[in-house]
């Protein structure tokens, strides 16, 4: 019990005595942690943005011209009962022709060159948002393609692939930056604690000769590292909260589009950041204090 009280007292005394170095360290950690926090928000929001961009993503099922009404009805029933499909709409050959004419506008006369309607009838399917991954969509398309009366299944595979590649690259990049900052934060505390350790070197040498154990020497430094990291993280949580509030209220009022991309910020992140800061700092302190030899 006394060792904890002594270590706490020594650590708090040192924090106060070296308040400027500690303040700058806390500030550095908070900046680094804020960047980690922003990237964490980014990672969390990439999925919501991808879902937002792909919410109208559809699979078009083209049917053979010879398909019977009964087969068409059977297909519709299958699509309606499929839990993976959220929306089903049918476009007849005539409707498709009308759509093309509408799209061509003034150039619609070129469609008159066709003696017969060249367009097939089709089903437009909207898949559930969480299924919009290239491999899942491809598998679904293959299954539908094998249904009787289906000539072809088309979906924006290149676009979907590109979007997922982009999201994956962004996530990997964000994780790499987070890892780099994680190491940097550990290094910031390492440097500060190393300075304190060297400043107290004579004292530590004397304590060792008096019979002080390693844990007795180390604990104040670890507590100091913990406090520095925790407060750095806390400051960062405040910054992120302010930033998120600004984006969701301030920025969203003049850029409404941004609001739909921002997912709700989990409260846990405000606790996780100080905890991560404390953990990284304790790690840095542990490395700084190193192996104490007698």
């Amino acid at each position: 019990m006394n060792i904890v009280r002594y270590s706490l007292k020594t650590a708090l005394k040192s924090i106060w005595q070296e308040k400027w170095i500690n303040f700058l360290t806390i500030l550095s950690i908070s900046i680094a942690m804020s960047v980690i926090g922003i990237f964490a928000i980014l990672i969390m929001n990439i999925d919501s943005a991808v879902q937002h961009w792909t919410r109208n993503f559809g699979v078009v099922v083209y049917l053979y011209d010879e398909i019977t009404e009964e087969e068409k009805l059977k297909l519709k029933e299958r699509f309606d009962s499929d839990e993976d499909i959220s929306e089903v709409s049918f476009t007849s050959r005539e409707d498709a022709l009308q759509d093309v004419r509408r799209a061509l506008g003034g150039n619609a006369v070129i469609m008159d060159d066709f003696n017969v309607n060249p367009l097939p009838s089709s089903f437009s399917l909207t898949l559930r948002g969480d299924l919009l991954k290239p491999d899942i969509v491809m598998e679904k398309a293959q299954i539908i393609n094998a249904f009787k009366g289906v000539e072809d299944v088309q979906y924006g595979e290149k676009w979907l692939m590109a979007l997922h590649e982009f999201s994956r690259a962004l996530k990997t990049g964000a994780l790499a930056v987070c890892a780099a900052i994680f190491i940097a934060t550990t290094f910031i505390t390492y440097n500060t604690i190393k300075i304190f350790f060297y400043r107290r070197k004579d004292e530590i040498e004397t304590m060792k000769l008096l019979g002080t154990t390693r844990s007795y020497i180390r604990l104040p430094f670890l507590i100091e590292g913990f406090v520095i990291g925790f407060f750095g993280g806390l400051l960062s949580s405040g910054t992120i909260f302010a930033l998120h509030s600004f984006l969701t209220s301030g920025a969203a009022s003049f850029m409404p589009a941004i609001d739909s991309y921002l997912s709700v910020m989990p409260v846990a992140i405000y606790i996780l950041i100080p905890a991560a800061g404390a953990l990284m700092s304790v790690m840095g302190s542990l490395i700084a204090v190193g192996k104490i030899r007698y």
Binding site: M1, N2, I3, Y6, D202, E203, E205, T206, M207, K208, L209, L210, G211, T212, T213, R214, Y216, R293, Y294
Partner: protein, 220 residues
């Protein structure tokens, strides 16, 4: 209490002690003397395990210095009080706190620490200086604080490395008198000094260290 058996210690290629054997009994007060560089400090360092023997065996209060684990060294040192020539007092702590540190590491409660530190301060006649910081003390007073710090945890062995090195004769005599008192309570005391006036006429065993070994043993 302290036993050296054929101990050799060298730094790189410089042999400091060679094939040295000695025995200090429990409750004995021994002087270790010899010219500068004879290896007095090294011998003391071997006792409190700041150094390890290259060859031979050392036992201090049943601890084998050659085999002792790093994690056990603090517990050996709690049984060995050390008085340094350069005092090694913590300048940012008061006299009281400097002495209390030796007890804090024993995990004693505040009340016990206060009582024991005050008692030892009375013994070394420094009660009035309890709240003073070391830089404001004279050399003799600082040395008495160091002795108080070394004896407060009631060690079984007390080592002193040139304890009167920078002190005048009167102060030196008062310091030696303190060691005698400590020894009288049963603590084994080893004093390394090159000042023969300190041990002359004491009737104590004197070990003369020279040429990497104990060259001569006499009674002071």
């Amino acid at each position: 209490m302290i036993r050296f058996s054929n101990v050799t210690k060298q730094y790189d290629n410089d042999v400091v002690l060679k094939n040295l054997s000695l025995n200090v009994d429990k409750g004995e007060m021994v002087y270790l003397t010899g010219p500068s560089g004879a290896g007095k400090s090294t011998l003391l360092k071997l006792i409190y395990c700041a150094e390890r023997p290259d060859i031979g065996q050392i036992t201090v209060a049943n601890w084998d210095i050659g085999k002792i684990k790093q994690s056990t060294i603090p517990f050996l040192r709690r049984n060995v009080g050390i008085v340094f020539q350069d005092f090694r007092l913590l300048e940012n702590k008061t006299v009281f706190e400097n002495i209390a540190l030796a007890l804090r590491i024993h995990n004693l409660n505040t009340q016990t620490i206060r009582e024991q530190v005050n008692a030892v301060l009375r013994e070394v006649k420094l009660s009035q200086k309890a709240k003073t910081y070391p830089p404001h003390l004279s050399g003799g007073e600082q040395q008495r604080v160091v002795i108080a710090r070394a004896m407060v945890s009631k060690p079984t062995v007390l080592l002193a490395d040139e304890p009167t090195g920078n002190l005048d004769d009167d102060t030196s005599n008062s310091i030696i008198a303190l060691f005698r008192e400590i020894n009288a309570r049963g603590t084994t005391v080893v004093i390394a000094t090159h000042n023969h006036e300190l041990y002359h006429g004491t009737g104590r065993r004197v070990l003369h260290l020279n040429n990497k070994n104990i060259e001569q043993e006499s009674i002071g």
